[in-house]
């Protein structure tokens, strides 16, 4: 596994400007690019669209990184930008028309009477909608824990949050998502 520099090191290097900033930005993209990519692709469901959205996200990150105050963790800040850009994309694009879309991000395992009557596509869409309704921190934790399958210790580093708080966030996120999905499927 590739060892990436700490966020503070990347930021310090970026703040030196010039070639240092370019190096720092490369490190930043190498570290967070894949996670942001999957986050965006779970919404756009297509590589080309993901590429466009991710590029916009990275441009905004590059332009605003100097002004990043560190009020939140670096990943949370970028997660927010990616989330907003993904939502903008959904508003602007008719993603279902004329492009190949990814297979659903979820598969249904037999045994739940409500889920048994739906499809993987539908449940994936509902999950995606449910995540969008979550508060930003909870959504970020859910993304990292559920989709990225990171350990709490790893998420704790990324989000500068204690593991206990992360567990609580993930628990609440799952509850809200489940309630949202069941609510939608029952009506």
């Amino acid at each position: 596994m590739v060892k990436h520099p700490e966020d503070e090191e990347i930021l310090a290097l970026f703040n030196q400007g010039g070639k240092h900033a370019n190096t720092a930005f490369n490190q930043l993209v190498a570290k967070f690019g894949p996670i942001l990519y999957r986050q965006i692709r779970s919404v756009t469901k297509n590589h080309e669209h993901t590429n466009d959205v991710l590029q916009n996200v990275l441009i905004k990150v590059f332009q605003n990184l100097l002004g990043f105050k560190g009020d939140s963790a670096l990943y949370t800040w970028m997660y927010r930008i990616a989330r907003n850009e993904s939502l903008n994309f959904l508003e602007k694009e008719n993603r279902r028309s004329g492009v190949d879309i990814d297979p659903p991000m979820l598969e249904i395992l037999a045994g739940h009477h409500v889920l048994d009557s739906t499809t993987s596509e539908m449940i994936s869409d509902l999950l995606e909608q449910a995540v969008q309704t979550l508060p930003e921190k909870q959504a970020a934790v859910f993304q990292l824990k559920y989709f990225e399958e990171l350990k709490y210790s790893e998420i704790s580093k990324k989000l500068n949050t204690s593991e206990g708080a992360l567990k609580a966030n993930f628990h609440h996120a799952k509850q809200k998502i489940e309630k949202f999905i069941l609510n939608k499927l029952n009506h």
């Binding site: 930043l28 894949p34 990519y37 441009i59 332009q63 990814d102 249904i108 395992l109 045994g111 889920l115």
Partner: protein, 160 residues
């Protein structure tokens, strides 16, 4: 079946296809490159300078040639690609300064600037006194504006 069982126990995530590290490396480079491209005013754009310099150079060069020579040169110039011209000028851009161009222009090829001399052209009126709007009637101003087709409702056209 257990209705209240957590739905997450019945869902399995599919792995999202993710490009390799090379893709992200390239993406970062593209973003950095895009941020280095600043908006440059036209007069600072090298291409604008090169094209202008090329035009001046060709004009000055042709001014110094006779008709037959000029025809030959024009034919020869037609065989040179634009890229070659640009490359040449780019390599010799330092040579295209104003002084050099001035030196290359023969005085006989410059049309003398004709100044209007009131004594030679008595029909031309000149104003010896400073004009004041107080001396002009409102009707005259309106008539002038009408003649000049100035739209009084259009703020952009009014400078007074």
């Amino acid at each position: 079946m257990e209705t209240n069982k957590n739905i997450f126990d019945h869902l399995k995530t599919n792995e999202i296809e993710t490009p390799d590290a090379g893709y992200f490396d390239q993406l970062a480079k593209e973003v950095i490159a895009s941020q280095k491209t600043k908006v440059i005013p036209l007069y600072k754009k090298p291409l604008a300078w090169i094209v202008s310099a090329a035009a001046v150079f060709a004009a000055v060069f042709l001014l110094n040639l006779g008709d037959a020579e000029e025809q030959d040169v024009l034919l020869a110039l037609n065989e040179i690609s634009t890229e070659e011209v640009y490359l040449y000028i780019e390599d010799h851009i330092e040579d295209f300064d104003t002084d050099l161009i001035s030196e290359m222009i023969d005085e006989e090829n410059i049309d003398p600037i004709v100044f209007i001399d009131q004594e030679l052209n008595p029909e031309v009126e000149t104003f010896d006194e400073t004009l004041s709007f107080e001396d002009i009637e409102t009707e005259d101003i309106l008539e002038y504006l009408q003649n000049e087709a100035v739209d009084l409702d259009d703020d952009d056209e009014l400078y007074i």
